[in-house]
């Protein structure tokens, strides 16, 4: 047997964007968590972490904007993909527990470029992104303009977005890096490629599409 065939899953710039965005988000998460969870606020004393939070958010916002300019079609596709839900997704949700625990592949409907779970994560990323930015902008720039009530509810919105994003990030990291069956997930975000075989079993519909394109 020679080299196993590989297919390109992510472009280099997408990978760069993913990791820059990840780094910024982790910094935001940590500097935010110390203000949220009780009893771990000590590092925030003096306010340095709040400045770091603001520097990180600038990167967190600029990175996707730059990416949008570079790849407007890919971004539109990403948004469309995230918002398109169908019968396959219901079947996926029903079959997923058996697959993720027991490795039962039988009932899993073939998936497109991303599966239903990944779409959920993309939805969380987009949704909490909007919540974070709106509530954060109120707290940063409109503090002296809006009423205390609006500020207070912005804090709550920021909290809820934080929890959602944090929990789903745990799941995302777990599935991407740790889950015994997701053997090529991390690699695909590293060199952009996955093996033919992995593509066929994990993203059947997508694999068929790209094979047709080649043939």
């Amino acid at each position: 047997m020679s080299e196993p065939r590989v297919v390109e899953r992510f472009k280099k710039r997408t990978i760069w964007f993913h990791w820059i965005h990840t780094a910024a988000f982790i910094v935001l998460l940590v500097t935010g968590a110390i203000l949220f969870f009780p009893g771990i606020g000590a590092p925030a004393e003096g306010g340095v972490t709040r400045v770091i939070h603001r520097i990180a958010v600038v990167i967190f916002v600029i990175a996707p904007v730059v990416y949008c300019f570079l790849n407007p079609r890919m971004v539109l596709h990403f948004i469309k993909e995230t918002l398109t839900w169908g019968k396959d997704d219901i079947e996926w949700v029903q079959a997923a527990p058996f697959y993720y625990f027991g490795g039962d592949e039988e009932k899993m409907p073939p998936q497109g470029h991303v599966n239903t779970g990944q779409k959920m994560w993309q939805l969380i990323v987009l949704g909490t992104g909007v919540l974070f930015l709106v509530s954060g902008a109120v707290m940063w720039f409109l503090k002296d303009i809006v009423s205390p009530g609006i500020f207070q509810w912005s804090v709550i919105v920021h909290d809820v977005a934080f929890l959602l994003a944090f929990l789903m990030l745990l799941v995302h990291i777990y599935l991407g890096v740790i889950h015994p069956r997701m053997t090529e997930s991390l690699r695909s975000m590293w060199d952009g490629k996955i093996s033919d075989k992995y593509a066929r079993s994990h993203y059947g519909k997508w694999y068929e599409e790209i094979s047709k394109g080649e043939g």
């Binding site: 009780p38 925030a44 306010g47 400045v51 207070q152 929990l167 740790i178 015994p180």
Partner: protein, 299 residues
């Protein structure tokens, strides 16, 4: 690859264990919170607008001095002004209410402070450790009286809060707060809260007998204020809210925090369980003779 994955797992497990070991000190726990302890009684009928409280506060706390303010234009609270007067005109006279932190028993600021810079002193008042302030400004936004004052840079967000500390150093050493010590007429009286409540109510009775419509403020508000007022007009006239309350988002936030810690634990446990089960299943599958023996191995 296999090794780094193992290390990663170990590190994650360690981090998770640490999170579980560290008991989340509940946002709801309110150490040494009490409506008793020491308090101040402010009697507007005894105030003669001398502004000595204002000057004494600035002097003791090392705040920049100013000339004696004009009651027509009373200076608002600011990072440099921790106590001021709220004068109202009654007939030809100015009647003034001292305006500063009311040191609530149920203090919204203490609930929302993420670093513990604001906390309850065992003597009842809200003590403040400026070195711990992160400058988040939540206290200023959640205080029902609008007391905390932020010194802040709008762009970088670097900030620090200022407010009346109840002269915590003096009071802890058995002295009176500077404003109370300076007051020449007894309009600001410092003492045990229970005694001051009694005294305030007696004063109201006396004033009412002589035909003044007097009101006592601070006995029940926000669990009991540690600065209470004898007023000869409505609270609103003196800039005090009727039935102030801890803003509902504070309670919502406490619930979200508890819920958050709970779901973190559940999700972490769920993922751990999934790993154990899925790993076992995968190993059975990879046994010699299993259907995907070699190809799954990476790199």
């Amino acid at each position: 690859m296999e090794i780094s994955r193992k290390d990663f797992l170990k590190a994650s497990a360690g981090a998770a264990a640490l999170m579980l070991l560290k008991p989340p000190t509940s946002a709801l726990a309110k150490e040494s919170q009490t409506k008793d302890g020491m308090a101040m009684l402010v009697d507007v009928t005894k105030c003669v607008n001398c502004w000595w409280c204002y000057a004494a506060c600035k002097n003791y706390n090392g705040l920049p001095e100013t000339i004696k303010p004009d009651p027509e234009q009373p200076p608002p609270l600011s990072p440099d002004i921790w106590t001021t007067l709220k004068p109202i005109k009654k007939g030809d006279e100015w009647h003034s209410r001292k305006l500063a932190c009311n040191h609530c028993t149920d203090a919204a600021c203490v609930s929302v402070c993420p670093t513990g810079a604001l906390s309850y002193n065992k003597l009842g008042f809200v003590q403040y450790d400026k070195d711990k302030c992160s400058g988040c400004g939540y206290c200023a936004e959640f205080c029902p009286f609008g007391i905390p004052q932020m010194e802040s840079n709008r762009i970088t967000g670097v900030a620090v809060m200022n407010k009346c500390t109840f002269c915590q150093d003096r009071v802890s050493n058995g002295e009176q707060p500077a404003c109370a010590a300076a007051c020449p007429t007894g309009a600001i009286k410092f003492g045990k809260r229970a005694e001051l409540v009694k005294e305030g109510k007696e004063r109201i009775a006396t004033l009412s007998e002589s035909g003044t419509e007097a009101q006592f403020y601070g006995e029940k508000e926000l669990g009991g204020l540690h600065v209470m007022y004898v007023l000869d007009d409505t609270p609103q006239a003196y800039g005090l809210p009727v039935n102030p309350e801890v803003p509902p988002p504070v309670l919502v936030r406490d619930v979200i925090k508890l819920f958050g810690v709970g779901t973190m634990i559940v999700v972490a446990a769920g993922l751990g369980l999934n790993y154990i089960i899925a790993r076992k299943e995968q190993m059975t599958r990879e046994l010699p003779g299993g259907k995907n023996t070699k190809k799954e191995k990476r790199d």
